[in-house]
């Protein structure tokens, strides 16, 4: 059960939205799509769903092309709310789920379970326009997963939610993954991707700039962060060889260094200069990697 994208390209006229993207999304995993605004994430999703025709390349699920016959096994949460404002939650979900091939009775039972889980059982007979944006997002999420899809595509699933609801939704997503659903999701919130995904891909203007498993990406990035808390001024480290970034903090500074070995040189340098409270070598965060890789082209 893998989703494969092979040399996927999409052009709008002369504008290349997605350029030669090849991916393999393993079964039973969560795959993160990262990218700035307009990087081509939504376009890629739309091509997977068949909403847009690809210019060239191939998309397969288990080796088969995706078409409307597969509607039942795919769940999609679009970036923007897409619900009928005037309809009641129940009617809404029944309608959308039936389009995916579910029976009415089945839907009502599942819907009750989901509303219960999201602690909003009273919304069953409310109109969507009466709900807050965050609660609409929950309903939208239910509509994407109620038919137990094998492949779930989430476009910015956590936008507009408060931290409690983000946690609730995250748990639901993790449960689905554990039940065997392959999940692809996009976000610009690095911490969500870092927390949830085993594999990821960073898109930059349609080009995949980083791609692979989270651990490998971090390891191959090479640069590390060094956290120092000390009682003396640390400004001199700005010009220290191998330090690529310097950021002053309340208790000391955070450095980015080009490789692990630099940390030992700094360690020696600091000896005898004063009292060092904390000296810690950290893995780079995804945020750092993103800014480094994507930000480069903004400069």
């Amino acid at each position: 059960m893998t989703l494969k994208l092979k040399n996927l390209t999409k052009q709008f006229g002369k504008n290349v939205a997605v350029n030669n993207l090849s991916l393999e999304i393993p079964e039973n995993e969560m795959f993160g799509f990262l990218g700035g605004n307009g990087a081509g994430k939504t376009t890629t999703f739309r091509m997977i769903l068949g909403l847009l025709e690809k210019t060239s390349g191939e998309i397969t699920w288990n080796g088969e092309k995706i078409n409307y016959g597969k509607s039942r096994i795919i769940g999609y949460l679009p970036e923007e709310r897409g619900l009928y404002p005037k309809l009641k939650v129940k009617e809404q979900i029944i309608y959308l789920a039936r389009l995916r091939g579910m029976e009415r009775k089945e839907v009502v039972g599942e819907l009750e379970k989901w509303l219960e889980r999201f602690k909003v059982p009273e919304y069953m007979d409310k109109r969507v326009e009466e709900l807050s944006k965050g609660n609409q997002q929950k309903i939208q999420f239910i509509s994407a997963v109620i038919h137990k899809p094998e492949l779930l595509i989430l476009d910015e699933p956590f936008s507009g939610l408060d931290p409690i609801n983000v946690e609730m939704l995250k748990e639901a997503v993790i449960d689905l993954k554990n039940q065997g659903t392959s999940i692809v999701f996009s976000s610009h919130r690095m911490e969500h991707v870092e927390e949830l995904c085993e594999h990821l891909c960073i898109l930059q203007k349609g080009n995949p700039v980083v791609q692979g498993s989270l651990r490998e990406i971090k390891r191959s990035f090479g640069k590390k962060n060094l956290l120092i808390h000390a009682d003396m001024p640390l400004d001199f480290l700005k010009t220290f060889e191998g330090v690529t970034k310097f950021k002053q903090t309340m208790n000391g500074c955070i450095l980015q260094i080009s490789n692990e070995n630099i940390s030992q040189e700094i360690f020696h340098e600091l000896q005898g200069k004063g009292f060092v409270r904390k000296f810690e070598l950290e893995e780079p965060s995804l945020n750092d990697i993103f800014i480094e890789k994507v930000g480069a082209s903004y400069e």
């Binding site: 052009q11 739309r46 769903l49 068949g50 909403l51 847009l52 025709e53 690809k54 210019t55 060239s56 409307y68 509607s71 795919i74 999609y76 679009p78 923007e80 709310r81 897409g82 619900l83 009928y84 404002p85 005037k86 309809l87 009617e91 309608y95 959308l96 389009l99 995916r100 509509s143």
Partner: protein, 406 residues
């Protein structure tokens, strides 16, 4: 499809429009009684003063209009005028003979807006004048009657296939009814379809719909759903109209006969249904396609304007064609897809059209519908992902391109 049908069925607009049309029907049927209830009131009394002393003998005081009563008045003209002002009398008429011995009259009233009253008095006096003038000339009353009786013309068509006058009159009613129905239906439901699609687009639910089911299924489900809705509305109207007929059968009976509905032939009704459905699907497909191009509901009304123009042109051509069903323009336009449902039906109803001509017209219609559906589905699929407002015709191109591989 069920979704569109049921959700629309529950909307206020549907109730309101149905109730309004029903109310309109009710008013129309009971128009006379309503007029009576308001002003129709008591009889109108008109004082009449005969200055010649002999004219009164000729005037029929019990006029054919039961509400108008002429009352001879013996006091002076001034007295009579003041009574008119006091509303005792509706009006005052003085009559006298002029130099040639013919009647002349003066009409006094508080205002002279009630032309109906003036007209009936004028008719009365006209008769008197004819009688007097003819007797002066020494012509017999019977002869006068001869002269004024209308001529009778017997119409005989030499082509045996041609429809008889009677048949044609009968068909006229049903053709007119069908033209009007299709016109109103397309106007109402065409923009409903476009608005509906635009609503789904603007609430972005479209993205989910189109990713769950093929757009063409969705489009036709929508069209059929709304068509069913319309048929429901027509159904309700027919049932209510039927009930009303039962209660007022005498009055309406005449109306039905005059519309030729009482014994219209089955084939005409079948043709009517056929052309109605074809016409509806044609315009509905167009409306759905155009509706998918706009991104806001407000723009939907704007984009259906061309459709309304088309159907309006067809409708007026057809109205014109009712009097000249064999004219060149009617024949030509009965093959042009957007006018064909109206004009071909008109021809079928009013004149004899060879079956192959009908088939060609139906064929062209069906072909156009299929073509529009194919283009429509493409535009629809691309259009639902297009946002922003630019030129609709550019958008059609863009939308089609979106679905194409470059």
């Amino acid at each position: 499809m069920t979704h569109t049908y049921l959700s629309k069925l529950r909307t206020k607009v549907f109730y309101i429009s149905t109730v309004l049309i029903l109310a309109f029907l009710l008013v129309m049927v009971n128009f006379e009684s309503i007029i009576k209830a308001f002003g129709g009131e008591e009889e109108q009394k008109v004082a009449i003063i005969d200055e010649s002393g002999e004219l009164l003998n000729y005037i029929n005081l019990q006029t054919s209009d039961s509400e108008l009563i002429l009352e001879p008045f013996s006091d002076s003209v001034e007295d009579a005028k003041s009574l008119v002002i006091e509303d005792e009398y509706e009006a005052l008429v003085t009559v006298k003979l002029n130099d040639e011995g013919l009647p002349e009259a003066t009409f006094f009233s508080k205002n002279i807006t009630d032309s109906e009253l003036q007209l009936s008095i004028q008719q009365q006096l006209q008769q008197v004048k004819v009688t007097l003038a003819s007797s002066q000339l020494g012509i017999d009353q019977a002869a006068i009657h001869e002269v004024f009786s209308p001529i009778t013309i017997h119409k005989v068509a030499l082509d045996e296939n041609v429809k008889t006058e009677e048949e044609r009159n009968q068909a006229m009613g049903i053709v007119y009814a069908m033209l009007l129905l299709l016109y109103v239906f397309v106007m109402m439901y065409g923009s409903m379809i476009a608005t509906d699609v635009a609503t789904e687009k603007s609430s972005r639910v479209m993205e989910i719909l189109v990713s769950s089911a093929p757009p063409i299924t969705h489009m036709f489900a929508k069209i059929i759903g709304i068509a069913l809705l319309g048929l429901t509305q027509i159904g309700i109207l027919i049932v209510v109209a039927f009930i009303m007929l039962q209660s007022k059968s005498e009055q309406i009976g005449g109306l039905i006969v005059s519309f030729g509905l009482d014994n219209a032939s089955i084939s005409i009704i079948l043709y009517g249904v056929l052309f109605f459905l074809l016409g509806f699907f044609l315009y509905a497909t167009l409306a759905a396609m155009l509706g998918s191009l706009v991104s806001r509901v407000e723009e939907a009304n704007q984009i259906v304007t061309p459709i309304i123009f088309l159907i309006a042109i067809g409708f007026f051509l057809a109205i014109f064609g009712m009097n000249a069903p064999e004219s060149q323009i009617v024949i030509i336009t009965s093959y042009i897809p957007f006018f064909a449902p109206l004009l071909m039906f008109l021809r079928v109803g009013l004149v004899d059209v060879p079956i192959w001509e009908v088939l060609i017209s139906v064929g062209i219609l069906v072909g156009t519908i299929i073509l529009l559906a194919i283009i429509g589905a493409k535009v629809y699929k691309g259009g639902v992902l297009l946002y922003g407002n630019s030129n609709p015709f550019k958008d059609i191109k863009k939308a089609v391109q979106l679905t194409k591989k470059d």
